[in-house]
């Protein structure tokens, strides 16, 4: 039992440093300049949202931080050490849940735990149960994936990502495919879990309001090539409600900036 308590203990969140990262995608016909000399610091335990229109390279940056892709220049440091490949210190959540349909809910959560050494079978199950409880799905351990709603799937995906106790959580538009009501519930849940589990979170979204609701900081990207344009600090108490007026002010401000960077001429006319 001792080992489980150790396993469930919060680990220190990681500090992320993105240093001058550039990335090009070359296909036979076109060369896309996805990221252009992007630098970003994420503090330990900070919740950072990357916002921008599609094609601004925010997901690419997330993949590079995860170690799933290699930058053409620049580098990513996690606690000062260069990221060379994916690892369970930095877990990733995708827009589609990416849960494995051949496994039930429990086995999906166990998947990452099985790759972690020094845990017995029983301990792994205990850990998995703890996280399923954390996301409110302990009654669905034996369910098949197709039996779950979209929101439940993302909860399982969250439990699966949390289970190996990573220090960083990388989330790639995890709520984009959900209905508004489910999303609102998950905003509350993710803030609660973030405070409880003390993770560094990098959260990619194209939804400005969502970013303002969740992030300590909102980083604004512009496309072609992908660049960081502005950074906003959202100084509001938590838990935040997506419908609050204060939040609306932040999101209006960010949206205005977004439009300005997207189409400078148009914004000036409108102003």
């Amino acid at each position: 039992m001792m080992a489980i308590r150790d396993e469930l203990q919060n680990v220190a969140p990681e500090k992320l440093t993105v240093e001058g990262v550039s990335k090009w995608f070359r296909t036979r016909h076109v060369v896309v300049h996805a990221l252009d000399n992007v630098s970003l610091n994420v503090r330990e335990g900070e919740f950072v949202c990357l916002v921008g229109p599609s094609g601004c390279g925010k997901s690419t940056l997330l993949n590079i931080i995860a170690g799933l892709e290699i930058p053409d220049s620049g580098r990513v440091l996690a606690d000062g050490k260069p990221v060379t490949g994916p690892g369970r210190e930095r877990m990733m959540m995708f827009q589609e849940s990416a849960l494995f349909p051949w496994l039930d809910v429990m086995s999906n959560v166990l998947f990452g735990l099985r790759l972690k050494p020094n845990l017995t079978r029983k301990e792994r199950r205990e850990v998995a149960k703890y996280y399923l409880h954390l996301v409110g799905l302990d009654k669905f351990m034996q369910a098949n994936i197709h039996e779950l709603s979209g929101g439940m799937k993302q909860r399982v995906a969250l439990a699966r990502a949390l289970a190996p106790n990573p220090r960083v959580l990388l989330m790639d538009e995890p709520f984009a495919a959900l209905d508004a009501l489910t999303r609102e519930q998950l905003y509350g849940d993710i803030q609660r879990i973030w405070e409880e589990r003390k993770k560094t979170i990098v959260f990619v979204t194209h939804n400005v309001r969502e970013a303002a609701c969740l992030g300590d900081r909102v980083v604004l990207f512009s496309p072609h090539p992908g660049r960081i344009q502005e950074k906003f600090i959202v100084d509001l108490p938590r838990p935040r409600d997506i419908n609050s007026v204060d939040l609306a002010q932040y999101s209006t401000e960010i949206t205005r900036a977004l439009k300005r960077h997207l189409n400078p001429d148009l914004a000036e006319v409108a102003e």
Binding site: L68, P101, F111, H146
Partner: protein, 255 residues
Amino acid sequence: MKRWPFVIGFFALLLGIWEMLVRMKIWSPVLLPSPLSVGSYLVGALQDGTLEQASMVTMRRLLAGYALGLLFGLPLGLVTARFKLCEDTLGVLALGLQTLPSVCWVPLALLWFGQTESAMLFVVIMGTLWSVIIATDNGVRTVPPIYARAARTMGAKQLYTWVKVIVPASLPYIVGGMKQGWAFAWRSLMAAEIFVTILTGFGLGHLLQYGRELQAMDQVIGIMLVIILIGLLADKILFSPWERFLHRRWGTEKA
């Protein structure tokens, strides 16, 4: 539960039509024996053991050839899906040879192996192998890449990802391919048994062929029924449980 009367009724109707056609005497009874005489042939063949023996011989050949076909086909399919070089070489070869009806292997097998068990085995393997390779390859290619990415972020290495993610994810296709492989194996074996006369064991195909030579239509039709029955049973026993499991897990069951 209520389906059974319909199922039984359907087959009773088929038998009835058959019997009626015989009674109408449009064709000579030599060409179209009555269900009863086919039945009595089958009972006789069962009693003197011919049928059991022939079925055993056939099943042994089938299982051996099928197992070997799977043994080589599944890994080769994985390899062609994984490595571009294998796709361009082995993959193209498999695609080409799959289009060749397996009975076309018989002349070659006869010349290479003579009238032996090896010739039979060769034909069955050739019938199975290519379609299994192609189905496996195809299955692996349909796996959404996001599964492998998810596994990699959880710390899975290449081999682990293949064994624990890619293969199970392509399982519905692989089982489909195995089923197709079974059907092809069955067809090629019958072709082989009809064309390859050997003394090491008379299979169902041989019985069918002798029936023709003796103009014993009751035997020909009786054996055909047995062949159909074995195919049906194999489908139900070998593949149905798998398919039911897959449908339940993947949620592809018809409502």
